[in-house]
Symmetry: D2
Subunit: 147 residues, 4 copies
């Protein structure tokens, strides 16, 4: 994650996540693993919005998470809502990369940044295959000029 300021205009797709009381752990703030659930929520909302349903939606091909990371900048406590911005960082032959920015609702207050790489997989064959052209094209629309 670059040291440059991360701002809302760097993201092109948005999801809102309402923090549940149960998302907090014994330290009294949202547990680190739950940030990945928040990003998953935003990622799946983006993918569904472009018609990608994935394995659990009955598709023969679709994305499988290969790697993910998160930088935690602020603790989050219930009650709270967070805006999660997503942009497409890279569309490769058999994979794509997303960046996420989590912000305090309706503000520029940056809470966490994350990345993920998904391979595009034929589920029956259990191996990566080329991204269909229409998926590649649609994902490309969520690229943002680098700041």
């Amino acid at each position: 994650m670059s040291e440059q300021a991360i701002t809302r205009d760097q993201f092109s797709f948005w999801a809102e996540v309402e923090v549940r009381w149960g998302d907090m752990d014994a330290q009294g703030h949202v547990n680190n693993a739950v940030y990945f659930t928040y990003c998953e929520t935003a990622r799946i909302k983006l993918l569904r919005s472009i018609g990608v349903l994935g394995r659990s939606g009955g598709a023969a091909q679709g994305p499988t998470l290969v790697t993910t990371s998160c930088d935690f900048k602020q603790q989050v406590r219930y009650p709270a809502t967070r805006d999660i911005g997503v942009r497409v960082e890279r569309v490769g032959q058999r994979s794509f990369e997303l960046s996420y920015g989590m912000f305090r609702q309706g503000t520029d207050e940056f809470v966490a940044g994350a990345r993920s790489v998904n391979a595009w997989v034929d589920f029956a064959q259990a191996r990566a295959v080329p991204l269909p052209d229409e998926v590649r094209a649609t994902l490309g629309q969520y690229k943002t000029e680098s700041p």
Copy 2:
């Protein structure tokens, strides 16, 4: 994560995690966020073993997660047990970095690799402070020669 083979001898502390049926998501394998819970389980076991209890244990100072990442190499399905190896990658002035290797129980079959950086924080002041000497020394014992 380097492309070099990741093997059990690169880790110096071990935790065992039994996969719960409920760890699986709608794709029928362990959800990505749960891998971070597995690593958290191993990290906290290591920290407790060297006397670091953390905020939830009532300490005035202790580790706070700053960044974490995971590379997923194999899907995991219930029923299963995984061995999680941990090594100390780096001990800094006000932070330390851990590496994790997840293996199929009792084998060299590598399932996932992860990293984490924890800052050492004074909880009341909410800012990073120098690691106590004894914590630094003990963590140093879990370093492993780079492969």
Copy 3:
């Protein structure tokens, strides 16, 4: 849970819960344990709205869950939002009982019904103590005439 129809007018407090993709388990619908998280979300929203913050909010006295149950009438799949109605079933000397009705958003379609009993506990003494009069009175306002 009575066999009588459960309808929205039997509840006096409402919370909305957005289903997360990760709430689903390997059967492809929301996992049973997550329904209890949904009820917890509604219960804590109700309690906070009447000024009861609980142990994690730093109070010396407050509610501790003693028993809870849930009847599952419909499976829930992502994407979905559910309305959770709550009513106060009983206010006792040292405990109170809540009923919950989960409905498909904006409809009378009944999805699940739940109950909970919370003891009122002095946290330092770790024992049940009488409910403060103002809590008793305020909870009483969320009683609904039995259908």
Copy 4:
């Protein structure tokens, strides 16, 4: 749950659950919803041991949870292991009922008691059907004389 003492000899099948640090919530003890995950873990272990794999295991018929409840007697904090005893309470035409007793590992210290009713469902038809004779017979072996 009867007021009679609940003891280990009332259960005929056992599962062990290791508490994860992340099972705790902001109150610093295991969250109520997680007790249902513990029971699920024990239930699925029992069902798999008698050859019942369920929907996620690819079966055409199998159990679907209809109702569940839990009485919380003791708080649980990490680190801990709990023994969960299960017995078959009732085998009906199209459903079966289980009782659970959670104990501090290796002791008679009773922590929580739970119940569940599962319908036996044809998944394609989405309706309850009679339990196969062999499942009924095998479940019957896990009945325990009422105390």
